[in-house]
């Protein structure tokens, strides 16, 4: 099959709960947010009414994660405020507000019918990014079983949808079946990183040579100039800028290869990006360091029409990246394990 979308850990940088997209339809948290905002602005939900994540999720027949995100955003807008650690109260914070309990449905809180129907006909795309992000975030911490039933329960989706999500994760080599036919994710080990990098050193220089002639010169110059600019600025760049540099070279350029088997295998071996994303998220938003000149030299060669030299630059870059990534994996040992979810069960 063809994997058209680039992996979320590249395109979205830091993995976040509910991060990433993959669907043109409105995201669930956006639906929850706009429905709640409408009810608050129309004063259908009175000031002081207690808003609890679980009850809203029930009223909307959706999982808690999008509701949590919607509430946090409404709080940022000052439409609701934090209440005693238990949830939120409708309206801005004020000493005059009296907290009041009530069944949200009594206040007419419900999803508009078409939205409710579209949620009922959930597609795998809606939840894929969140599941992938969670799986990717946990694999440095051990071996996990990914539960189909847990996905159904957590997202309130059918088994067909859950299976579709699991198949996509398998296509990206993020999970595999063990001998008991359980879906297993992780562990992300130093050996796994070494193996992925060995594959990348075989595949990516070859892919680069195969696409070199077809790469747009203006695009290459633009990519080179952005790197040169970052270097001139002292090499200190934001994590999202580093992500975009990685995407320029390893996704935008390489995935133009015509050989779809090659493209699929490349994507399946870009897992090391996970380590770097988690490192930036938990430990340190790094500076660009030697990544910038390593990338730039590859573009210089492409622009000069020297694909073999560009491929050699790619080998050198991947060798350096391997030792950086393995060093970062060691540092991740300092991070406590993430909280379990309904669909990720720790094996060891």
């Amino acid at each position: 099959m063809t994997l058209s979308r680039s992996p979320s850990w590249i395109t979205h940088g830091r993995p976040q709960l509910g991060g990433g997209s993959g669907s043109r339809a409105p995201r669930l948290y956006q639906v929850a947010r706009s429905v709640l905002r409408y009810h608050i602005e129309e004063r259908r939900l009175p000031p002081g009414l207690i808003l609890l994540e679980g009850r809203i999720a029930d009223a909307f027949a959706m999982s808690r994660a999008p509701v949590r995100r919607a509430l946090a955003l409404l709080c940022d807008e000052d439409l609701i405020h934090r209440y005693d650690g238990r949830g939120y109260l409708v309206g801005p914070a004020s000493p005059d507000v009296v907290p009041r309990n009530g069944d949200l449905r009594d206040f007419g809180l419900a999803l508009p019918k078409p939205v409710a129907q579209s949620i009922g006909s959930f597609t795998w795309e809606r939840i894929y990014a969140e599941v992938e992000t969670q799986v990717v975030s946990c694999i440095p911490f051990g071996t996990y079983r990914v539960l189909e039933s847990g996905i159904c329960e957590h997202f309130r989706v059918s088994r067909t949808v859950a299976r579709e999500v699991l198949n996509r994760l398998r296509d990206r080599a993020l999970i595999e079946k063990d001998r008991h036919s359980h879906w297993i994710a992780g562990p992300l080990t130093s050996r796994a990183l070494t193996e992925h990098f060995e594959m990348r050193r075989l595949l990516e220089p070859a892919a680069l040579m195969s696409v070199a002639e077809r790469l747009d010169r203006k695009m290459l110059i633009g990519m080179r100039d952005r790197l040169a600019e970052a270097e001139a600025g002292g090499g200190v760049v934001t994590p999202s800028l580093i992500d975009s540099f990685e995407e320029d070279l390893h996704v935008t350029c390489l995935l133009k290869a015509k050989n779809q088997r090659l493209v699929t295998t490349i994507i399946q071996n870009q897992l090391p990006f996970v380590t770097n994303s988690l490192f930036r998220r938990y430990i340190s938003a790094e500076s660009g360091g030697s990544l910038l000149p390593e990338h730039r030299i590859i573009f210089e060669h492409l622009i000069m029409g020297a694909p073999r030299a560009a491929a050699a630059g790619m080998v050198a870059h991947l060798e350096a990246a391997q030792s950086r990534t393995k060093a970062r994996l060691k540092v991740l040992s300092l991070i406590p394990e993430p909280e379990p979810t309904l669909y990720l069960e720790r094996v060891h």
Binding site: L188, T189, S190, S284, S333
Partner: protein
Amino acid sequence: MAGEDTVLRVLGTRETLLEPIRQLAERDLGLSINYEIADGTAAIRKAVTEPDKYDLCHHWHSVELAWTARSAQAIDLDRIALWDEVGDLAKTGRVNGAGEIGQGSVPVRSLYVQPNGALGAAPSEQISSLPTVHNVDSFGYDPVILKGLDDEEAESWSWLLDDRWRGKVALLGEPGIGSIDAALAVRSSGLAEFDDIGNMSLEEIDRLVEILIEKKRAGHFAGFWRIRPESVRLMDRREVVIESIWSPAITALRARGKKVICAAPIEGYRGWQCGMWLSANAEGPRLDASYAYLNWWLTGPAGAVMARQGYYMSALGPTNQHLSADEWGYWYEGKPAGDDMADPDGQVVVRAGEVRDGGSYWQRMSHVAVWNSVMDEHNYLVRRWNEFLRA
């Protein structure tokens, strides 16, 4: 120069952040110094992830982690006046150019900053951390177990897994070095082979954890200690008769009148070297104060205090000048003590006539089987080790 209101913030563990040293440094440097003591993983986590919270960090084997996280900044050797006094072990990995270099993270291999920004053993003008105290660790045992030994049975790491003392054994619970002690014990017992105990493979880690869990379920271990006072308590209350142990725990037990033998295992010791790194955030007066403190550590007084709890100092010459001839003879040269000797707190821990277990500095430090290590599969090891502790 450091401003008068600069308070130097030093992070570390209780083994090196001793109050007598802090007072001596304040007196000699005219600085205010704050010691923040943290333990084990918490200390490393803070040191690596919060460089804005301290200026200097005394560490055991974690400079590589701090360097990767860019939490440490390079130390310029032209600002370390007594660098020439730092001994061979720190600069080459061997004492007097002799002896086995040992497996694992040999400290010199992460000492010098290389032209590409990585750390390596090739000398350069900058270092990642200033080598200070070092020593070899093994296990300690109550002389009572001598009764259960065969004639001329040599001290061996295998004793930690020996059924003769089942239920009376404790291990160090900290994953990074506790696992090395355990692997030395497993290998010496003939239960598993390891290509390199300082860099175990996934299969070796799995096998190690399996063996340990089996032993744990059979009631072999009385406990796992994380901080030194726990190891002292376990031995003092006779809850254990043999355990992984650090030198200051031996002196603490001796101060209480309890005799504990520090083993010199035939397989070799686990070696370690402590150093100090500069926080990436230290600058201006804090940076100047940090350099003053780094230099002061090489001048002798700190090395003398450290010697009295059994630790060796990288600057041997200046340390020698701050110890009595008798103290130098006992702690460094392996000679019988001419008189009673006190620990850093002033309590008598060595009686006249006693000889240090394992012999002289050169004998002990040239018998390192493996160094404290941060292995390639460190992350996996930590997770599996914690599983063993939970089992």
